[in-house]
């Protein structure tokens, strides 16, 4: 029996942005924004992509949305390869993957009314039959994201950040997408609004069976709504696991450092923090071997020359660290 293919499969995704310079405008260097990323998302599942800014997590999201051509790799949506798909067919595939952006202010066209913003995908995909049907569908979407009905005749600047994010979610829901890429969708909101939007996304997922690719730098938020977590560092996935596994038994030193940075709402709690030294190296000239070796507290010679592969370290738990090579290795000190 063949198992059903996941909704989204990403194989060896690479995106290098050329840097042009010199007086002839030739390519002088590349930004290795995403350098070989592989994961999949099942129907109705949430996968979180976490990492520091500049690690390429948003680029992965935009690559899945086909907002640019990939350098290398394959992306399958419901078994169909979309990274090489022609524009005409791709346009109809687009209704299956939608996006909610980080900045609730620049993600809505300031010169369009909410009605037109939410109706745009419906019209594009020919999903409304006549003006009345369109209005009904827009009103139903407003209800889904819990915005008042009279909101549809207003302009985006009349709303707060959280309300605007709801409008963005309504637009993403409009074409009946299977997968929504949430690119830092709640990062710009304050804590109470953030919780509302996270709950709304979780409710919508239950209701509509949506799959979410939740891109975030905030592990504390991710813990509330994700099924699985992929940790990215400098264009690569360094660890991929179920939420519980990852939060309970993180393997990769980078994941441990990230987790130790998550604030705990208890001022008396004594914790051992892993403070990483220095900055993320430039993706223009990534370090040799393991990309994390310049900041890793457990670095040894092999890390500088040999790049560790992403290998299973447990049930559905992948990690890319030389220390994980022997299962249950005692070399790995427990930091948390």
């Amino acid at each position: 029996m063949i198992a059903e293919r996941p909704l989204l499969e990403v194989n060896g995704l690479k995106k290098h942005f050329p840097i042009r310079g010199g007086w002839l405008g030739g390519i002088t260097a590349n930004v290795y924004a995403v350098d070989g990323v592989t994961f999949d998302i099942n129907r109705g599942e949430t996968l979180s992509l976490v990492g520091e800014s500049g690690c390429g997590k948003s680029t992965v999201g935009k690559a899945i949305l086909r907002l640019f051509k990939l350098t290398d790799g394959e992306v399958y949506l419901a078994g169909e390869r979309i990274d090489t798909m022609r524009a005409g067919r791709l346009r109809m595939m687009r209704k299956r993957v939608q996006v909610v952006f980080q900045d609730p202010f620049s993600s809505l066209n300031p010169r369009m009314r909410v009605r037109d913003i939410v109706a745009e995908p419906l019209i594009n995909f020919g999903m409304a039959h006549g003006r009345k049907d369109l209005n009904d569908k827009v009103a139903a979407l407003m209800e889904k994201v819990r915005l008042p009905r009279d909101a549809i005749d207003r302009f985006p600047h009349e709303f707060s950040g959280g309300q605007r994010q709801r409008i963005g979610i309504a637009r993403a829901l409009a074409p009946g997408a299977d997968l929504i890429v949430c690119d830092e969708a709640v990062s710009a909101l304050d804590v109470s609004v953030k919780a509302q939007i996270v709950n709304l996304l979780a409710d919508l997922q239950d209701e509509l069976g949506l799959a979410l690719l939740f891109i975030s730098h905030d592990l504390a938020t991710v813990e509330h709504l994700t099924h699985r977590v992929a940790v990215m560092y400098l264009g690569k996935i360094v660890e991929l696991a179920d939420r519980r596994t990852l939060f309970a038994t993180p393997h990769h030193p980078y994941t441990r450092a990230l987790l130790s940075a998550v604030p705990v709402p208890d001022p008396t709690a004594k914790r051992q923090r892993i403070i990483l030294k220095g900055d993320v190296p430039s993706p223009i000239d990534p370090p040799s071997g393991c990309r994390f070796h310049t900041r890793c507290p457990f670095v040894f010679d092999r890390c500088r020359t040999e790049e560790p592969a992403l290998r299973p370290v447990g049930d559905k738990h992948l990690s890319a660290c030389h220390l994980d090579e022997v299962p249950g290795d005692k070399l790995l000190p427990h930091a948390a």
Binding site: G25, K62, L65, L67, A87, G88, R91, M92, R94, K95, V97, Q98, V99, F101, Q102, D103, S106, S107, L108, N109, P110, R111, M112, R113, D116, A119, E120, P121, I123, N124, F125, F155, G168, R171, A174, P175
Partner: protein
Amino acid sequence: MSATTPQHLAAPALPAILPVPKERGRFAGFIYRHPTIFVGGVLIGLMILIALLAPYLGTKDPTALAPSKRTREPSALYWFGTDMLGRDVYSRTMYGSRVSLAVGFSVAVCASVLGTFIGLVAGFVRVLDAVVMRAMDGLMSIPPILLAIALMALTRASVQNVIVAISIAEFPRVSRLVRGLVLSLREQPYVEAAIASGTRVPAIIWKHILSNTLAPLMVQATFICASAMITEATLSFIGAGTPPTIPSWGNIMAEGRALWQVKPYIVFFPAIFLSITVLAVNLLGDGLRDALDPRLAKRL
């Protein structure tokens, strides 16, 4: 993509260009907040009325010669006096507003349309960008007045040719503005979201790019209008613009120049009208800029 016009292009109503005039009930408040728009608008409205109603404002034939009544001082009969050929300066000034306004508005429209098109091409077609924009830089390196003189030297003197010559001198500024706006707007998340929700390229350009270009474009257009009026007057003054048979402010001043020291009123009245009109257009432009987007001040 099909060659026929996609149905959805026609369906949604265009967003309002200026949400501001919608607040009709707060008209007084709007004037209070933007007095320059009000003053500029009223003055321009007055000039437009003068141009439209020139024959009914107690004017005589502006080209009628009356050698026996030359160089009369301003009086009840000849409000602005008469020039060296006995033509009534008041009538000539009133009719002259037609040329200035026609040239100013036509150039603003022509230069904006042409500049927007070139700017869109440069902003969207990255291969052409460098070539097109260097050509625009080249055009902009020549002072507009010199370029207009050179173009007028190639053609016959007529109001149409003046409009074409000044438009060619002015449009590179518009294209540079639009290109810059396109480059920043096309990276906006709402454009990416529109692509992700299947919007076709023409609709993206129209609904998401052009509609957000309109505000700065209108501001730029008012400044071009003012600058075109001055250029037209200058061209006419040095004899390279509107043919001398048509009364334009520049022509009247050119003809009065020789008598400037003894009969200054011949130059004075058209000069005052030109100054007021240009000031009014600039006031309107400044006001619009502040009303539409205060941050724009840095970009223009």
